[in-house]
């Protein structure tokens, strides 16, 4: 589908326009185009040319024989290429009736999938037409739940940012599940992409050389390093700021963690794996992530002992608006931020070199 075609005469659009004008029948045209394509990919022409050159070269002296050998090798190469081309498009090998069926099936599949998607879009738009008007205060989704979060949120959680108060206090278990999803995803990627040292087998050596190629890809680029010297501290400080002010301003653990992770990735790109592993490696990743998740789990498990009501933590809420306020929200934000930053960095290193 994504194949580029330079010749307009045999393009599908041209065929479609001809079909619209009633000049051709699309099925026979498709067959003709297919046969032409098949003729183009056949290796016979190149083979014959090579054979002719070998025939010409045989009644001669040694140098001619060498030429003949090279010509024969070229012919074999061409045949091999053509064979690989045939292998790449196996339906070309089959008899024409079957390949025509396959082509028809393909076109049928495309048309049906487009029709299906059009149907889905139209059903969804039909539903949209019955939805209440956008931005109206009386819409049924602005019900007593959000009113309760807004009116009582500051008193009960102490968080100025109501979204943070909601996701880290009222719905803290939901956020715990999200952090676990991130952790499990990074574990799965680690399992899938890890390069094991299993005694120097062939596949391991091959993957190791590929990974080495990826590790040493950026040579010490002076411009990147100077820019990173300026940018990385700023990015890291900004990420920490977003995490620590999660209950006061827009932001929080997830966004701040993403900023921290991107700063670490920039450092890694500028200075290479050897320097980056001095400050962050697999062991530190494990310790930080597991301890953050354990702290989160323990800090929120007390609600099982207080009648499944999260709101009585015993920690004073403090003055709303201060950094040290709103009870457990700040430590939980830090935990989430650490998990997210570690996971982002882990994704990057795993995809790039297959290990931490």
């Amino acid at each position: 589908m994504s194949r580029r075609k330079d010749n307009y005469e045999t393009s599908r659009w041209r065929q479609f326009m001809q079909w619209l004008a009633g000049e051709i029948d699309p099925l026979t045209a498709a067959k003709v185009g297919m046969i032409q394509e098949k003729a183009e990919t056949l290796p016979d022409e190149k083979m014959e040319r090579g054979k002719v050159s070998t025939l010409q070269a045989t009644p001669g002296n040694e140098s001619d024989e060498r030429e003949a050998h090279s010509a024969a090798a070229q012919a074999e190469k061409a045949a091999g290429q053509a064979k690989s081309a045939m292998a790449a498009e196996p339906w070309l090998n089959q008899p024409s009736g079957e390949s025509r069926g396959l082509r028809l099936y393909r076109r049928f599949y495309q048309v049906m999938s487009i029709l299906l998607c059009m149907g889905i879009i139209s059903v969804l738009l039909w539903t949209i037409a019955y939805l209440p008007i956008f931005g109206n205060a009386g819409n049924p989704d602005n019900n007593e739940v959000s009113a309760r979060y807004i009116e009582k949120g500051l008193d009960e959680t102490g968080a100025v940012n109501m979204v943070t108060g909601m996701i880290l206090d009222y719905r803290a278990f939901d956020t715990f599940g999200e952090s676990c999803v991130l952790f499990i995803a990074s574990c799965c990627v680690l399992v899938l992409l890890r390069i094991d040292n299993d005694g120097g087998s062939e596949s391991w050596k091959k993957r190791q050389t590929e990974a080495n190629d990826r590790i040493f890809e950026p040579k010490n680029d002076i411009i990147l390093q100077k820019c990173a010297c300026v940018l990385v501290p700023v990015i890291l400080v900004f990420g920490i700021y977003i995490i620590l002010n999660g209950h006061l301003s827009p932001g929080g653990g997830f966004s701040g963690g993403a900023v921290l992770g991107s700063g670490l990735i920039l450092y890694l790109n500028a200075f290479g794996f050897q320097k980056a592993e001095r400050i962050f490696n697999g062991k530190i990743y494990q310790r930080i992530t597991v301890s953050a998740l354990t702290f989160y789990c323990l800090a929120k498990s007390y609600s099982f002992f207080t009648g499944a009501n999260h709101l009585n933590s015993g920690i004073p809420l403090g003055t709303p608006g201060n950094i040290l306020s709103s009870g457990l929200i700040l430590p939980l934000n830090i935990c989430v931020g650490l998990v997210v930053a570690c996971t982002m960095y882990a994704f990057y290193t795993l995809f790039r070199k297959g290990g931490m």
Binding site: M1, S2, A88, P90, Q110, S113, I114, L116, C117, M118, I120, I121, L124, L125, I128, A129, Y130, L131, I133, F134, G135, N136, A137, N139, D141, N142, V145, S146, A147, Y149, I150, E151, L154, V160, N161, M162, V163, M166, I167, R171, D174, E178, V181, L182, I184, A185, S186, C188, V189, L192, L193, R207, S249, P250, F254, P320, V340, F347, L350, F351
Partner: protein, 125 residues
């Protein structure tokens, strides 16, 4: 009816984006493009949720000047849902890309049809 589509232009765009992503999932045979289609579908869902939480003429749900009135702020619930969705989408995208890398290492192709043909051949032999 049709005028509602114009009033709800954000939701309309979200649904069309969702359809485009679904079409990419069905039509493209390249696995990376299928993943792109999934991400477009994710984005459409975020757009829909964020549009549902917006209320005209109200502030973002961060307490300012000590106002604690429900009629002064937007709905904070969809924002939390979008946050959840983004995290899950990042995780699933990373997982799918890792699986794609393993498939490419095994079959040396990103084309789903080629991979299936090779799997059938291996099963047959």
């Amino acid at each position: 009816m049709a005028s509602h589509l114009l009033y709800n232009i954000e939701e309309t765009v979200a649904m069309i984006l969702f359809g485009i992503g679904f079409t990419m999932l069905l039509l493209h045979r390249n696995l990376i493009r299928k993943i792109m289609g999934m991400n477009i579908m994710d984005t459409a869902v975020y757009l829909f949720l964020a549009a549902k939480g917006y209320i005209k003429g109200r502030m973002v749900p961060i307490v300012t000047d000590g106002i604690l009135d429900a009629s002064a702020y937007m709905n904070p619930v969809p924002s939390g849902l979008v946050l959840t969705g983004i995290v899950v989408s990042v995780s699933t995208t990373a997982l799918m890309l890792a699986l794609t890398i393993r498939l490419y290492e095994r079959y040396h192709s990103l084309d789903l049809d080629q991979i299936l043909i090779q799997v059938k051949k291996e099963e047959g032999s």
